[in-house]
């Protein structure tokens, strides 16, 4: 239901000049455009464009974001170059084993940083500019960041996949590659949500960077990114099996090593259960749901 109030014409007759200023006799629309309205698309597109213009003029983030995973692949991959074959499960070599871990860890790190630009917008007051505008929904601010981070992580993933292939890790099939992209996007969505939630909840960028710092590496080490579960003591196996990163890493690793795979294949032998590929995907979707519901309250406090 939309309701329209028309205020009486302005006393001064609001002489509209060539510049087209003033308009005392405009109708006030009290209705709220929805999430699928043209207005929402327009504002989301504009906010996303801003992020891409920034990237184009300051490409350092992307360059560093591509170089870093390559260093992981080359340097960390070389660390275990000479381990006996078969030690890392079905992977032919450590490089192949590590590839899945680097893909997920890179996407995770990028998404974890998604809140930083928003935090700087808050601190510099640019966010106020957005908040005084009649946005169809302030969710467009969140969506624009998510689109940007997702696009960035797709580029990074493509580079890592190509580099791993060049280093002898092989390539999954086309459907496998699509699955890899879908898994990365699902993880990125949830983590970006968490990061944006933090960007609105924490007092400043110093605190946000601190949180990112203490989350990033521990979550990497307490996952199956660098070593299989079998290498770990039981308590760490539990931690790694509760870590959402493992549920993104293991399916990707599985499609890398198995030309033939199905959703029913077991990809992770957790201490509490065998996890199939399908279940792992469900866990990721569940993680997204919990993350997004959890940050909704945080976002609404500022963006309602």
């Amino acid at each position: 239901m939309s309701q329209t109030i028309t205020p009486p014409p302005a006393q001064s007759s609001g002489s509209v000049t060539s510049s087209g200023l003033s308009g005392g006799d405009r109708a006030l629309d009290l209705s709220t455009p929805g999430l699928l309205s043209g207005e929402f698309v327009q504002e989301t597109a504009a906010l996303t464009k801003r992020l891409f213009i920034q990237l184009q003029r300051r490409p350092t983030t992307l360059v560093a974001g591509v170089i870093q995973p390559l260093m992981w692949l080359i340097l960390f991959g070389a660390l275990f170059q000479n381990v006996p074959e078969g030690l890392f499960g079905t992977s032919q070599n450590y490089g192949q084993f590590l590839g899945a871990g680097v893909i997920v860890f890179t996407a995770f790190g990028g998404a974890l940083n998604a809140g930083l630009p928003v935090m700087f917008d808050r601190e510099f007051g640019f966010l106020n500019r957005l908040l005084v505008a009649p946005l169809a929904s302030r969710f467009s601010i969140v969506l624009a960041s998510s689109i940007f981070i997702a696009a960035l992580s797709m580029v990074q993933t493509a580079v890592i996949v190509a580099a791993s292939a060049a280093l002898g890790a092989g390539l999954p099939g086309v459907v496998g590659l699509i699955l890899v992209a879908a898994i990365v996007l699902t993880l990125v969505l949830g983590v970006t949500g968490v990061s944006l939630g933090l960007a609105f909840a924490l007092p400043g960028h110093v605190e946000l960077i601190a949180v990112i710092f203490v989350t990033n590496l521990p979550l990497l080490f307490a996952s199956t990114a660098l070593a299989p579960l079998a290498f770990m003591p039981t308590w760490l196996q539990w931690v790694a099996s509760l870590n959402p990163l493992s549920y993104a890493i293991e399916p990707i690793r599985f499609v890398y090593t198995h030309a033939l795979w199905s959703l029913g294949d077991v990809v992770l032998t957790a201490p509490f259960a065998d996890v199939t590929l399908g279940m792992a995907l469900l866990v990721l979707v569940g993680f997204d749901a919990i993350a997004l519901l959890g940050v909704r309250a945080l976002l609404q406090r500022t963006l309602a």
């Binding site: 006393q11 509209v16 005392g24 106020n128």
Partner: protein, 339 residues
């Protein structure tokens, strides 16, 4: 006739600080309304409540008769808010920023180019609008910000301290532009702690102090209320103090003179409060001549808004300004302004 903006008994506190205690004002369509007060008086908080950046604790705010608390999007559509501290994305060019702003206000793509071009011409920005905004001077930034505030053709343009920190030349550009807007019938709400700015621009003014409106009306009405005219008298370019004192006691005895103060900062010139519409100026000159005292310069003027402020609060605006500046908690300030 619905008022462009109506604020009634507005209250807003941040923690222990009562930023706005009781502010009521009505802005008619087509007028330039000035909100005058020292830093920390509650001007910006009032504007933040009006522009939906802060939620009032109590009171009513309406824009064209619509409550901004109940219908924030309507308020946002109707208001063009130009904040005090301009936040630009320094990587974007001015034009890109205007395009972003246009999209945030859902201006159709077809109209966008023309409107932006109009504002670029009107504010004389064409030479630098395609440079990155990080390279802009204060005056350029302020002009760009005026453009962003006007892009969606708001009913009311809200300017928070539009000339603070600007050089004289840029200030004149901004003043001229606001005058131009008034002739076009745009309603403007402007805050300032510069008396001469409000005096020069505003049709009506509300003087605000410690979160309360202490006087309101047209600048002329307010000055009449304070009463009397002011005469500034210099006996010599730099008058010796004893000579100034002699003149002081002489002039004090005239019945048209209400008060005489020696202004030591201005070379011992004399500031007189005299009955308005009287022949005080002539009588002062005659009295000086008869007593054999010289006259280097003498000028009569109406009371200033500073006199209005002084009469209402017992302190000059400049002194209040200094006191507020030293009491200001910058961390608290940052917190209030961050969302």
């Amino acid at each position: 006739m619905v008022a462009a903006v109506r604020i009634e008994a507005l209250q807003k506190r941040y923690g222990q600080v009562e930023a706005v205690k009781d502010v009521s004002l009505t802005i008619e369509s087509g007028e330039v309304f000035g909100l005058l007060g020292p830093n920390g008086a509650g001007k910006t908080t009032t504007l933040r409540c009006l522009c939906t950046l802060a939620t009032p604790d109590a009171g009513l705010i309406e824009v064209s008769g619509v409550s901004v608390v109940k219908h924030p999007k309507v308020a946002r559509q109707c208001l063009g808010y130009v904040a005090q501290e301009v936040a630009l994305d320094k990587v974007l060019t001015g034009r890109e920023l205007l395009e972003l702003q246009a999209a945030l206000y859902h201006i159709p793509a077809k109209q966008m180019g023309d409107r932006i071009q109009n504002l670029i011409t009107m504010l004389d920005m064409s030479d630098w609008i395609d440079q990155r905004s990080g390279t802009y001077s204060g005056g350029m930034r302020r002009r760009l910000d005026l453009a962003t505030g006007l892009l969606h053709q708001p009913d009311v343009l809200v300017l928070d301290e539009p000339t603070v920190g600007l050089d004289i030349e840029s200030r004149v550009v901004v003043w001229d532009f606001i005058r131009k807007l008034r002739t076009q019938g745009t309603t403007v709400l402007i805050t300032s702690h510069y008396l001469e700015e409000i005096d020069a621009l505003a049709d009506r003014v509300a003087i605000i102090d410690k979160g309360m409106v202490i006087a309101s009306g047209s600048p002329s009405e307010l000055k009449d209320k304070v009463g009397g005219d002011r005469i500034t008298l210099r006996l010599r370019e730099f008058t010796p103090h004893d000579e100034a004192q002699a003149a002081q006691s002489l002039l004090q005895s005239l019945d048209c003179v209400q008060d005489v103060i020696i202004n030591e900062v201005q070379g011992n010139s004399l500031n007189l409060v005299v009955k308005s519409q009287s022949d005080a100026l002539m009588r002062v000159q005659t009295a000086l001549k008869q007593a054999g005292l010289p006259t280097f310069g003498i000028a009569q003027s109406r009371p200033s808004l500073d006199d209005v402020y002084l009469a209402a609060t017992g302190t000059t605006l400049t002194d209040a300004e200094m006191a507020a500046a030293s009491a200001r908690d910058s961390k608290q300030y940052r917190k209030e302004n961050m969302r």
